[in-house]
């Protein structure tokens, strides 16, 4: 096993890089910052890979079960003998898997950005933000304490805010970053209250103790179940509130509104934060507390399940109508995360029941690969075309062969076509859903088909659709594009690596390593079962092919025939408008304005009144303090005479 300092170095390297770049590098060697960041990320990744190898193959197992290992624990704030905020590292299958994913994707993004961000004015700043984000994310997944995870959770939010608003001279980017921050911050309020509820009853903030106390019949469990508020037990409330935090970060319906707008950030950032790592933090959080959800509180898990499946379906429908390539990908991310969520929701704890849990983690793993690939591919396309709109693209397959091929692989993977990675994880999820709830299964299969459709809508629109010369430009412009070239080599290499991974990670026997209780879960593969989903996905692909392979009027006619639905989906089911209505019309008018009135007139009024009275009084009596010695002497003399009279005639 690696020594503790080396494990601690995995998150610490990025933060050191961040400090170095932000404090020194930005000023003295800005052009080297990218290489510096990438190298430190490479070291971090290698360390993570070593840790993963050691954990999964050498030391993690005791008997047949993967243990939770805490190589580092530092008591930071001690409140009482039992309650403390620790800073520690917790290694268990999911956290090890996550550090691998985070460092890998982050490395790819760092490397890719060398080409993508080249020549940008704030190149060094960009890399410092990336390093900060990677640090926060690694800290989040390694947290051994629920409060520690909250701290890193917020750090992740901040770095996401910084990166979305990276192009701060664009008003839309500024608005998007604020929106993302406020929406997730709002959800985090739920998370914080959830933490307080759980830790109040369990009497600890430490994950292991917390889970132990709330899953075995202890006093703490009895009190928290007995304590009820508005018809639900405190445990249910706590877990649902924590899930709200997770749903905010993971862009679950109805807190998803920030994710599409977050695409204003640089594309590699979208790949890293808004596809592969940060947005799965919510899934990770539920998975981290999964024993409590599954063993002690099935109602909370029901919430997770229905929120997951509805987000998944709604996002898939919206994705079919969007015309901005990154927004399509954003909604597909939301849809896939919905998959992971409801997979957790249908899962039970331990043994065969834990299939959903394992499937969810598996999908998280594969999704990180192919979604990062999709975004990086989209980045390459945007780099080439200088536009986000699908209609500006088309016929790019000969011009960008590498991007074309890798994008195709990613699309196949996300559509769930064997033998690509997405197929395996999606099948596990569908199987788990099938065993638990037929309705969920049905919606999930339909969603899978829609997923295939909109991904290939994107694929065909970008790479086929139009004749080879993009935008129908003249011959000269065409030549110019050729000179411009597909993408620099630094952008192609990550695409190729991720494409290879998207092909083969599905073959990993994931259940052997990650399962709800640590014991290996051997999954059988039912060929018969996967026929229907694959056929539906293929149908989706062919439908997309017939619509978008050549320029045709069919899609427009189709949209016309379902006008209301199309319009609604195109406008994201008006959820943004509903939010605006609620906040602007209802909350601002009914709560905000009265509160402002009270603040202005009652609170400030009291203060102003005091000030006015003091001022008036002092103005009135300032004549007394004339500064004239002789009038003072008169006062003094009159006073003395007064005293004398009092003492002589009245006091006696």
């Amino acid at each position: 096993m690696l020594s503790t300092p080396l494990i601690a170095l995995i998150p610490l390297l990025p933060v050191l890089t961040f400090a170095l770049i932000a404090l020194v590098g930005r000023k003295y060697f800005p052009s080297l910052c990218g290489v510096l960041g990438t190298l430190s990320m490479l070291v971090s990744f290698m360390l993570a890979a070593t840790v993963a190898y050691d954990y999964f193959f050498l030391v993690g197992k005791v008997g047949n079960v993967y243990q939770q290992i805490i190589p580092l624990k530092y008591t930071w704030l001690q409140f009482s003998p039992n309650v403390a905020i620790d800073m520690g590292i917790l290694l268990d299958p999911i956290s090890v898997m996550m550090i691998l994913v985070v460092t890998l994707v982050s490395l790819m993004v760092h490397f890719y950005s060398l080409g993508y961000m080249k020549g940008d004015e704030r190149y060094a700043t960009y890399y410092s933000f990336l390093a900060l984000f990677t640090f926060s994310m690694l800290g989040l997944v390694l947290s051994s304490n629920i409060f520690q995870i909250y701290i890193f959770w917020e750090l992740v939010g901040v770095s996401s805010y910084l990166l979305i608003g990276y192009y701060f001279d664009k008003p839309s980017a500024v608005a998007a970053s604020k929106k993302a921050f406020i929406v997730t911050r709002f959800a985090d309020l739920g998370f914080l209250i959830g933490i307080l509820v759980l830790s109040y009853y369990a009497g600890t903030l430490d994950f292991q103790t917390l889970i132990l106390r709330l899953t075995t019949p202890t006093d703490q469990l009895h009190t928290i179940v007995a304590a009820s508020f508005m018809g639900c037990s405190a445990l249910t409330w706590g877990l649902v509130l924590i899930f709200i935090g997770g749903a905010g970060k993971s862009a679950m319906f109805p807190l998803h509104i920030w994710l599409p707008d977050a695409m204003e950030g640089p594309t590699p950032v979208s790949a890293l934060i808004h596809a592969a790592t940060m947005v799965v933090a919510g899934v990770f959080l539920v998975a981290r507390l999964f024993p409590i959800y599954a063993i002690s509180c099935p109602p909370a898990l029901e919430v997770v399940k229905w929120v997951g499946i509805s987000s998944s379906f709604i996002a898939a429908v919206i994705a079919c109508t969007q015309t901005d390539i990154k927004r399509v990908l954003a909604f597909s991310t939301m849809s896939q995360i919905g998959y992971m969520m409801f997979a957790l929701g249908v899962s039970g704890y331990g043994g065969e029941n834990g299939l959903g849990y394992m499937a969810s983690m598996f999908h998280l793993f594969t999704h990180a690969m192919f979604k990062a690939l999709l975004f990086l591919g989209a980045g390459a396309i945007i780099h080439y075309v200088h536009s986000n709109e699908i209609k500006d693209m088309g016929g790019l397959r000969k011009l960008m062969p590498v991007t074309h091929l890798t994008f195709l692989i990613a699309c196949l993977a996300i559509a769930g076509i064997p033998p690509f990675a997405g197929f395996f994880s999606k099948e596990e999820i569908l199987q788990a859903a099938f065993q638990s709830n037929k309705l969920i299964f049905g919606i999930a299969v339909i969603t899978a088909a829609i997923t295939a459709f909109y991904m290939f809508r994107l694929y065909f629109s970008i790479f086929w659709n139009k004749p080879l010369a993009p935008k129908g430009e003249s011959h000269d412009a065409h030549e110019e594009h050729h000179d411009h070239g597909e993408a620099p080599i630094t952008m192609k290499i990550p695409l190729v690596i991720l494409a290879l991974l998207s092909i083969c990670v599905g073959l990993i026997p994931f259940g052997k390593f990650v399962s709800s209780d640590g014991a290996p879960l051997l999954t059988e593969f039912h060929i018969g079962f996967s026929v229907v989903p694959v056929l539906l996905a293929t149908a989706g692909i062919f439908l997309a092919r017939s619509f978008y392979m050549k320029e045709s009027l069919a899609p427009a006619r189709m949209a016309d025939s379902m006008k209301g639905l199309y319009r609604a989906a195109y406008n994201k089911f008006y959820i943004d408008e509903i939010y605006l209505f609620i906040t602007k019309k209802i909350i601002f008018n009914l709560v905000g304005r009265p509160a402002a009135w009270i603040d202005k007139n009652v609170v400030d009024g009291t203060m102003n009144l005091t000030a006015t009275i003091t001022g008036k009084t002092s103005y009135a009596i300032r004549k007394v303090q004339s500064g004239k010695l002789q009038s003072y002497a008169v006062y003094f003399f009159v006073g003395v005479i007064g005293f004398v009279l009092v003492f002589v005639y009245w006091w006696k």
């Binding site: 500064g627 004239k628 010695l629 002789q630 002497a633 008169v634 003399f637």
Partner: protein
Amino acid sequence: MIGLTHYLFVSCALFFIGIYGFLTRRNLITMLMSIELILNSVNINFIAFNKFLFADKLDGLFFTIFIITIAAAEAAVAIAIIINLYRNHHTIDVEEVNAMKF
């Protein structure tokens, strides 16, 4: 026969003349002189009481000597201040010395 009452009458008259002068005069030196009058009225008081009520003791006498000493020092200080004031403001009118007033 001159008794205690006569002394007190003189002292009282001196005191109020001093007070009147202090309150009505605008000239600093006149005010200083008025203060001296007040002090001296007190001195007379002390001596008179000492002589008529506690003839075997010397407390009042000592007090008076102290007051005379201190009054001399005080007059020196006050006149020094007044001279400085005159140098800076070319006046010793108490009404016009208002440079520090808000």
